[in-house]
Symmetry: C2
Subunit: 185 residues, 2 copies
DNA sequence: AACTTGTTTTACCATTTGGTACAGACTTAT
DNA sequence: ATAAGTCTGTACCAAATGGTAAAACAAGTT
């Protein structure tokens, strides 16, 4: 019982893509079954508590990726410019040219918020705090660093929405590039 | 046939509130019926093409409000500082302390995007262009004005998401205040 | 009073929703 | 070979989904 036909971890990328594209309510079990090629039986084998557990798993995996690719560099001792650059590169990759919103942001947007309130709060809080600390290292005062970090994260999230509305991924890349330049003063 | 028992226009605020809270897929006809106190029959009397038409009507009304309260002041000849202040006040009121996202932004976030692509595109495009023109009047160069306007709108949309995630309306008010100060340099 | 118009109620429809039960199949260890 | 575990397919379920049809109701006009 080492090799398994399908593993829970294999499903997470597909699940993430679905939830990030259609939202929580907009993603049906039928769509999940179709996209993964698995029947509901298999799905409920991996996620006995159903759809909420699937969404939770996506948030968990996103949080793990985020800790690795964004919080890690931000907290790693080193030049602020490098940390900020790594953050920006990770965001560009994760959001795929602004076409795909972050699962956390999407769940925060609608009433799904009430289901996942705690993870949402900590996710963005950690992000803002880690970035603010980097900005302090870069010379900002404590208060200014916090508001600048907040505005930076907000700008990223908003840029994804605008890129999706414009159906033009370039605007997201541009926003990230400007953000990087602004933060690295 | 002058006085009607219920008017289409009376329903729009309720509809807007529902869609902005739960998203398009997350808002069921049953919930709409319950919130408005009307049966499905009445609902389909006012919106014969069903839920899509209701969402479209909400977007139309939002667009009308936006043209009046935001684009109007931005396009009105006068000091940039006044136009920007009026925009910020209107946004604060409309988003209710960052607790309610904009219908346009919410529909842009998930795959509802494909249903309302055109209105979404024009909404944000008009906003950015009008704000950019004000920034030119305030002394910016044409290119810088456009990117600053884009970032400003993005920052607003993102701040709503962060305010909802933090469940703290004050952060939205703070973001708007900082934005106003930044734009009025 | 009758006619017309606009609104609401009620009952109904097919389809889809999230979820379950369970028998069978595959894989691995003994 | 067999037992034990893990995985999958099928069939099923009650409830909710978006949507429809038409009868009944209210009100204004003639």
């Amino acid at each position: 019982m080492v090799k398994q036909v399908a593993e829970r971890a294999d499903l997470l990328p597909k699940l993430a893509q679905l939830f990030r594209s259609h939202g929580y309510e907009g993603t049906s079990l039928a769509a999940i079954a179709a996209a993964t090629g698995l029947g509901k039986g298999s799905l409920y084998h991996f996620f006995p508590r159903g759809k909420p557990e699937m969404a939770q798993a996506v948030l968990d995996e996103t949080a793990a990726w985020f800790a690795r690719a964004v919080l890690g560099p931000l907290r790693h001792p080193g030049p602020p410019r490098v940390a900020i650059r790594e953050m920006c590169r990770a965001l560009e990759a994760h959001h795929n040219g602004g076409t795909q919103i972050c699962a956390f942001a999407l769940f925060a947007a609608d009433e799904t918020q009430t289901l996942f309130a705690a993870p949402l709060r900590t996710h963005f809080q950690q992000w803002i705090e880690a970035l603010a600390r980097v900005l302090v290292l870069a010379g900002r005062g404590a208060a200014a660093a916090r508001t600048e970090a907040f505005d930076a994260v907000a700008c990223i999230q908003g840029a994804i929405i605008l890129a999706r509305a414009a159906e033009d991924g370039r605007v997201f890349a541009g926003a990230v590039a400007r953000l990087e330049a602004r933060l690295c003063v």
